[in-house]
């Protein structure tokens, strides 16, 4: 209800002066980056809340141990969108597959924030604060970045400003005029709570049944939910004088039960993400050429399928980069980051994919080489605990 209070968007035209670019320091480990800084560059950050199963999104089909852990979750081999002789995209990602062929996709596997426990709340706190541990009054790393380089304009798309953008720097926010629909996952969880209530339970069910009938008969004439945010992201980023950074949030990735192999809950989320990025490319038009989209989640999920055909909270997972801005980085492997392996002895605590990269090093890389942030300031003020080793491409 407070979505207007942060709408202090300052629409002044920002000019990235050559002086600032010249002042940009360098980060160690820029193995795959060259200088791609341009004053018109755009950044979109998509936060996937609930912890995306990276092993289902980018399938290491070449790892001999994969099937022993999660055969039930792997789509048929011939349907996999193979990136090389080891990794494949899930078949629900045809759009990303096309981008990959065009050099407009970056995939980083076995990547994680600094967080090593298994709470969504704390995991998202660390993901967005960029710090070592979850702190109740933390500020967001993107906000701190804006403080050190105030020519940048950022905007939160959604009903509220997420932690990643909170802090002293002024940011804009925009929410679609229609309220976000109740998400399916939340409704399922609520139904489960209500099932124990003999008075309210049947009444809620009756209302939900009625809604299902009504909505089945309606055609979706107006973009709603995440689609509306994607359209807004496209419009804002290409608007002259508009924000050059946007943040979007997408819920529903917590797949403990029946997450699905070829089809089901999680593949539907993949399709939504795939369509969203394709839609953003279309919406951006030529602006896509100087855009990088970062897709990140709070942690990965367990390597093994659980007793309810889902996966539980894990450690390392996948981050996606997308955008025409990536072509400037030249040729690189389809999947970046050292592969830790899935053999029993390689797993973290006997259950999780071992992280081989810190998300902050990847983000710092993008902020510096794509958005022109000063590397020294990034290291000191934005990501003070970031490993000195930097991002490891392989």
């Amino acid at each position: 209800m407070t979505h207007q209070q942060n709408s202090r968007i300052n629409r002044r035209q920002f000019i990235q002066s050559a002086a600032i670019m010249a002042a940009a320091g360098t980060l160690p480990g820029l193995s795959w980056a060259n200088s791609a800084i341009s004053g018109n560059n755009k950044l979109a950050v998509i936060i996937l809340r609930g912890a995306m199963d990276g092993l289902a999104a980018v399938i290491p089909y070449g790892d001999a141990a994969l099937r022993t852990h999660r055969a039930a979750l792997i789509p048929a081999d011939e349907t996999l969108l193979k990136l090389d002789n080891f990794f494949a995209l899930h078949p629900a990602f045809p759009g990303l597959f096309q981008l990959q062929k065009a050099g407009e996709l970056g995939i980083v596997h076995a990547i994680a924030s600094a967080y090593r426990e298994r709470s969504h709340f704390d995991g998202q706190n660390v993901l967005e604060s960029g710090l070592e541990t979850a702190l109740p009054n933390a500020t967001g790393w993107l906000n701190r970045a804006l403080q050190v380089q105030n020519q940048q304009q950022a905007m939160a798309l959604g009903q509220s400003v997420p932690l990643i953008l909170r802090g002293q720097a002024s940011v804009g926010s925009w929410a679609p005029p229609v309220l976000p629909a109740l998400n399916e996952d939340t409704l399922t969880r609520l139904q489960s709570l209500y099932s124990a209530d003999s008075f309210l339970g049947p009444r809620l069910q009756e209302a939900l049944d009625a809604r299902a009938i009504v909505s089945a008969g309606m055609t979706n004439s107006r973009a709603r939910g995440f689609t509306a945010l994607i359209d807004a992201a496209g419009n804002f980023l290409k608007a002259p004088g508009g924000p050059n950074i946007v943040v979007l949030e997408n819920d529903g990735w917590d797949t403990h039960v029946n997450q699905g192999g070829a089809q089901g809950t999680l593949p539907r989320k993949f399709t939504e993400l795939d369509n969203s990025i394709t839609r953003l490319k279309t919406a951006l038009g030529t602006t896509w050429q100087n855009t990088v989209v970062v897709v990140m989640t709070e942690f990965g999920r367990t390597v093994r399928v659980n007793g309810t055909l889902g996966t539980d909270h894990g450690t390392a997972g996948v981050a996606f980069l997308a955008g025409g801005g990536l072509t400037k980085y030249g040729s690189r492997p389809a999947v970046l980051g050292p592969w830790p392996g899935l053999s029993e002895s390689s797993l973290r605590e006997g259950r999780d994919l071992q992280p081989t990269n810190d998300l902050r090093t990847l983000i710092a890389e993008i902020l510096q080489s794509h958005m022109g942030f000063n590397g020294q300031l990034l290291r000191e003020l934005v990501f003070p605990g970031m490993p000195m080793s930097g991002f490891r491409a392989s």
Binding site: A51, R203, L208, R211, D251
Partner: protein, 467 residues
Amino acid sequence: MTTYSPFIAANRFGLGIQPGEYTKIEKDPKGWLSAQIPLANRLPPRYAQLGNSAQLIEMADADYRQRISFQQDGEVTEDEQLQLRAAQRLATALMRNHANQRLAVAIESDTPFAERLVRFWSNHFSVTLTNNKPTTVYAGLAYENETIRANMNRRFEDMLLSVARHPVMLTYLDNTNSLGPTSVLGRQRNRGLNENLAREMLELHTVGADGGYTQADVIALARMLTGWSVNLPTNTAARPDLQTPAGSFYYNARAHEPGTQQFLGKSYVDNGQQQAVTAIRDLANHPSTAVFIARKLVRHFIADQPPESAVIRLAQVFRDSRGDLASLHKALIDLNEAWDPRLQKLKTAEDFVVSTARALPGIALTDDILGILNDTLGSFNQTPFMAPSPAGWPEQAEHWGGPDALIKRVEFINMVTSAVGSDFDARDIVNLILPTNPGLQSAVRRAESKTQALTLLLASPQFQWRA
């Protein structure tokens, strides 16, 4: 052995616990409630500048007269249109402000039991303010403060009398139009009684429909009430009583039906306006009134199906104390049934909205936010002073918890948490606002985001109930 749960104290008898209140209440939940009883007649500071009912009625009457005069003298000119629109804007702003202040008082209250009691009695003496009675539309909150709040530490008879003499009630239930058939004005105008106030006073305010009265008693009370009116100019004339403020109570002897009246087995001699005063005081202390009020209190605070033992006990206290309200309120929380966790009440829409805001401290109560909450009350069909009938808002869970109402509540919570979900950690709040519930706690803990966790907590069945 009764266990005094802080959650029952704050949720069943209050307006929903604020997370920070838990430790304060936990020490002595019953003591926390009883300490609020003597404070129930305090006027919240937010109400200090809102004007009294006489001023607000006079203002509304002037606005109404302006509208009528513009319409009666033929075509409404452009200048008149502008004046009307300006007046309408002011009226809307005034009513919104009153509604916002009333909501803020509930959300902020540090005496939520006292506030609930005020709202209980206000609903007992419910008024519905529509443009059918244009002179009272601004005065709902003033009515509540002047008749209900001001009398919270007095006797039921004082409150009843204060209500019956109040211009808002006299207007709402048509007593201003009631003329003694053989009074001076009645004979002049060949008009007679309007029984509305008398009937509702018996049926809804005191003895109840089964309280043992007849149509003859209704007529007798209506006759005694003739002449009880409001000091406003009729048509173009000046107000009838220049000594007292416009918009206040006015006894019009020329409308009063002469003669002794037989009412509920007693004779009341005609001593002008005192005739009805005496009758009303007796009515307030009628044995049936004690039972009717006792049952209503128990139904409101404890269970839709009131345990008879509790009703008998409260009725006894009512009779013994001659309707002393503070004694009655104390007796309510002394009941063993009051603390029985098996008895449950569903929150009304208003209390659901208020308790949601109370569960989320730190949200600034700006006019915008209060306005959104008031609009929400409108969408739940519980706009204050707009109850569907003189009986006030219903009590039953069936009324408040229908399928459509439930889904609206869930959607309201979805709206709230979409905006502020990331500001609150439901894991920290769950044990401070609701009794221990492993299913709910685990749902909150396992939620995929802070926003979802808060949605599950505030849209949960547990948060719909008052336990």
